[in-house]
Point group: D2
Chain length 393, copies 4
């Protein structure tokens, strides 16, 4: 009954060969909590260095050919040069993320601010982002709306939704026809009473109002306690509106830990729905991204561990015996159906993946290979002086 | 700055005069936890006696002219006689609730069950409910879908949504043109892995697919921890799909305590959005219902306390100085806007309501008046023998 | 680096050979939610039949030589006969659980009830339990205190603690010198405002006041959302007061699902602390018990799956390379230390355990072996008539 | 039945006259989230200016005669001068808080760090804090331990407890005989897997091990979702170990909003236990402190609102008819007992407090009086140049 990993199904290998995970440039800058940002030796100082770090992840894993940028954190004079640098490194630019939370004007909101002038400024920021998209070949404009309020009565909940709808329409109109708007939701933080897009329902309603190229981003850390995330994955796929994942993990709030670290079984269940609903294929349009903070661990190894965790969960999901699963489900065999799923989960997929990697000229164990490469020590020695990148840079 | 309660605004009194809250018949039967159902002296034994108890609540408060039925718990031979009995008592039949959770066939689901035969049975149950609606003059068919799974893999999440959509369409087609389908969501329980309608987004998607007479029911106890409920109220009003409330309160899960008992400020914030979005008027179509369990406290006083809590929160919401609130919000005066809201909340509204009640021939203090009436002792003495109503009856 | 499972460490096998898990008699009766108890064919009707079912679990797994009783659910005329029946079946009686939640007198509490007469009744119930212990050779008296309140002000929180302390002292005094009092805590349910022993801190304080033979019971489903349970395991071990586990799993509240079903990684982390703090050995005094409800799945296979899940998690915990772990921890190697742990977790332990079982004359796959045995069909056919056991019986 | 506020009980007024609330110096510096710290005009730049701001709160409310310092944030050359400055302003120095979270060495912990040298550094920091205490007349050394881990396996949970116990003993030994050690707990943040003092039980165990002058600090925002805080208040009072409150409020995590803003009824219930357990009196040893962030609202008005919220909740708690409450509790009158409590809560206490303030030469409405005073504008105009204080300063 155990899935065979000795002679793996060619379809499984083909699916794995197509899988890609997008890295966030900001994972290679310093990050932290409100209490402290710990610096790390060798942290990238420029968008160019961030791409170099990201390229290390791809070189070792073959999984991460794209890098998301964050504007203005990754502002450069010449985006064409940046894209060319990426190409030289074997990667390319992915989604462009707009920053709506680090300007003093946004204290009471950006796209939902009571003052039309502030909203216009926030909307205008996306013109720059779309320009970056054109210059870098990016097709995904990604918005996380940090807006919200801290106190009951502080602002009108309904009016903020109306303002948001209007602002989003103006941004959507900026896009070229082949571009998408990816709209993220988040339960709370950085505001603590209302959040203007707190859940998938709100994000989806706005996307439906905008048009087909507006899609929802599911960040795995952005839900209320105890929320069943794979259920939401299915809902968004059923509605045809799952645009992207922001992968990470959490035990408490938006902890932004390494994906799969807090609950590897949850990650497997999510990937199981992705596979079971045929959304793993690149043509599905789901952009699988990371969005994490490596506050205390080294960043490049942290990203390598992260993409490996996603790959392992995916491989296990691909091993699920779907005929057996369906048969047990139809028979109402509760424990039997569960056992089919767990059988795949309990399989040690690492030997299969090691062989798969070697067959593609990659290290069998990318995590150890990177550690052994001396690259971490090299950048620590070289990147002296200048200012290390971080969320504020 | 404090809202005046000495010479109340006639508009406030007019709004209060129009307010109604629907009582659930099952609040007058015994209820409990999975561990124990405590019986109480005087508990109603028949649907007719439940109506008599509900009529006591209305007689003392003037707030509760309607009673929801639950089929089959309130099955009688002659629904016309039941409706006439209600009319004699000064109340009428409200929503009809269909029961989908107490048949052995529903172990793995009702409207979402893998077996089409079980789904047909569950759908057919609504034919009976619609007949009851016709016989009693009810216009609201209310569905709480208890369906879900306990174990990962137990059933296909997507397939269950598809089955649900199909089942709901068949039920919707049963309705007469003036009838509504009210669709409730619930975070979890009685299943503990997936719930087939766990959140407002899922309920709304199904309602949108059904048509305009499908509306969402918001039960205040059916959310993930920390969820901002008034935000959802606003979303559903903005979408034109808030069909009804099931009022109660909770500290932990779906505790079904007396509304306003656990967090009176939350109830005020909810009613504040209702008032602020002009949804208090009867024409708004929002049916304000209770759905509670009086496990350890006496039931009629428990219901009286509940409708009074809603009335007090409503009256406070009506006192909010909306011009001042808007001005502070537009000025970005965070503390000032909050203060306007809190000013109404901190007002002791009870004298105003006492006077309002007396002006309508009602007791100033309905809770104490009922206690003093001796009715509780009377039914305890009279209702001897027979079987007390409960969830299983 | 991967732990070797081909030539397993004899110490691992020795530790596995000593491991035992206690089964609850009530897992073999029907259970459910407040909404519905689904009956199942073949459900045991008497304490004797429950022991027969439990013996099936032990016969197939070699893991479950003890069965907890629950008084009065398992009340029989002759406890000596019951114990002898157990012995004939190859098992024995474990902890005795006292029931404090199914008497009408306990509506407002049992050991904490405002009325001393009710408290005396609840205390007196333990005299019967201790008699059962003497008659069956049990040494553990297990108390789950369901007491609490539903409404603020309902009772005095402090007074209830004082009453509880007094009641517990009287119960503790009933014990023979070789007996222990195991005191469970629970976050909420069946009451929804206060719980009189809601957390490990409260339980421990009462145990410290009672004496050395009072120990804390950790039920894995009895915590607030997001609680780190393995941390509590360590705290109780450090204090020398971890008396027992009630194993189960949950996604939401006290769901009482099969242990390891909701979060297998959590179960592994718990067992990792047990192993790492040398508390797996029988002499540690920790009684590893199950406490679950098989509401929709068959009960004997459900219990088999449960003990297997605990065994698998234990085996993985035994595989952790503790020298490597300690070295990485001392070096401050965050990702490396985590990798050591995950290495054991990702190992497919099932082949090792299959071989281990066969070496002891047990089926390699107990779950499938039981299914294939026809026992489930046999008891369904035989156990006709009579009343199936359930929480109320 | 409504509590009389027209002719207030002299005992109530006497209790209110004795009430004091300690302000945190850091509330007058800028604060924010990990995403953004918004600056505000007029923010204090030095510890001396923070004291001036705090003195404004006391001058308007008569409630806040003490100010907590945070070392090193409030490091000055001459603490005697700082204390004298406080005295000139009509306030004095309260607790001294030690900072254990802003040094690069503390990335993996401070008092629990694997490396003894780092622990020694963290312990040594308290020598400075005790010197500040001696120089300023402070008697409370307050520790919030931010230590924890982000990943399973990262460090040994048990070893960290042992190190913590040792570190705390060394710190306790630094204290003069009249000084107390106040030990705070927190559910999570800034670490996201384990927290070394995550709950009241852990803090209490360490305090019990240290000695009588070690007491627990209860921060109202530092609990798991749904936790009943007033229950913990009672537990700590019963154990004689409630040393201090850190007041604030939250909807989600440690939001650090204005106390009473998120759930005013919770604040009332907490103060009700304080009053009911006779812990309001200064001799009780409970230090009532604020610990909040005014991220978007002005700071001095935010603190004024905060102390007023505590005062209002206290006054309502003092109004509770304790004889009636006890009688209803003893009679098992669930709804009646709750009604006694709610009666006090629903009372509009503001007129009584306005009169009380005026009788003491204070403004009837301190919040409006401060706004009208022009002080906010004055400091905004005067405090130009220099660096505004914040958590990092």
């Amino acid at each position: 009954m155990t899935p065979t990993t000795d002679r793996p199904d060619p379809a499984v290998l083909a699916a794995l060969a197509e899988q890609t995970i997008e890295l966030p440039s900001w994972a290679f800058g310093n990050s932290g909590t409100r209490f402290k940002v710990f610096g790390q030796p060798g942290t990238a100082r420029t968008p160019f260095e961030k791409l170099e770090d990201a390229a290390q992840v791809h070189a070792h894993t073959g999984l991460a050919p794209r890098v998301s940028l964050h504007i203005p954190w990754d502002r450069v004079d010449d985006y064409g040069a940046l894209a060319a640098h990426a190409a030289d490194l074997g990667v390319r630019i992915g989604a462009i993320n707009s920053n709506l939370f680090q300007d003093d004007d946004y204290r009471l909101g950006s796209l939902t601010h009571p003052d039309r002038a502030v909203r216009k400024k926030a909307i205008a920021h996306h013109t720059e982002c779309v320009d970056v998209m054109r210059a870098t070949g990016s097709t995904d404009l990604k918005l996380w709306l940090p807006d919200g309020t801290n106190y009951a009565g502080q602002d009108d909940i309904r009016a903020r939704q109306d303002r948001l709808a209007e602002s989003l329409q103006e941004i959507y109109a900026l896009l070229d026809p082949h571009m998408r708007l990816l709209l993220e939701y988040k339960f709370f933080e950085p505001y603590f009473y209302t959040t203007d897009i707190p859940d998938w329902g709100t994000s989806l309603l706005h996307c439906l109002a905008l048009g087909e190229r507006a899609q929802v981003v599911l960040d795995t850390g952005h839900h209320a306690p105890n929320t069943n995330i794979e259920f939401i994955v299915v809902q968004l796929l059923r509605a045809g509106r799952l645009g992207a994942f922001d992968f990470n993990s959490r035990n408490y709030a938006d902890d932004d830990l390494i994906v799969g670290a807090a609950d590897p079984f949850q990650l497997f269940r999510i990937m199981n729905e992705i596979v079971g609903n045929d959304a793993l294929r690149p043509e599905s349009g789901v952009n699988f991204m990371l969005d994490q903070c490596h506050n205390i661990e080294p960043k490049i190894p942290g990203q390598i561990r992260s993409v490996l965790n996603v790959q392992e969960a995916t491989a296990k999901a691909l091993l699920v015996d779907r005929d057996a699963l369906r048969a047990a489900q139809h028979a109402g065999d509760v424990l039997g159906a569960n056992a089919v799923l767990m059988d795949a989960y309990h399989t040690d997929i690492r030997p299969l993946l090691a062989a798969f990697r070697e067959s593609r000229g990659l290290p069998a164990d990318p995590f150890s290979a990177y550690r052994a490469s001396g690259h971490g020590e090299k950048i620590a020695a070289e990147r002296v002086g200048g200012e290390q990148a971080s969320w504020g840079a």
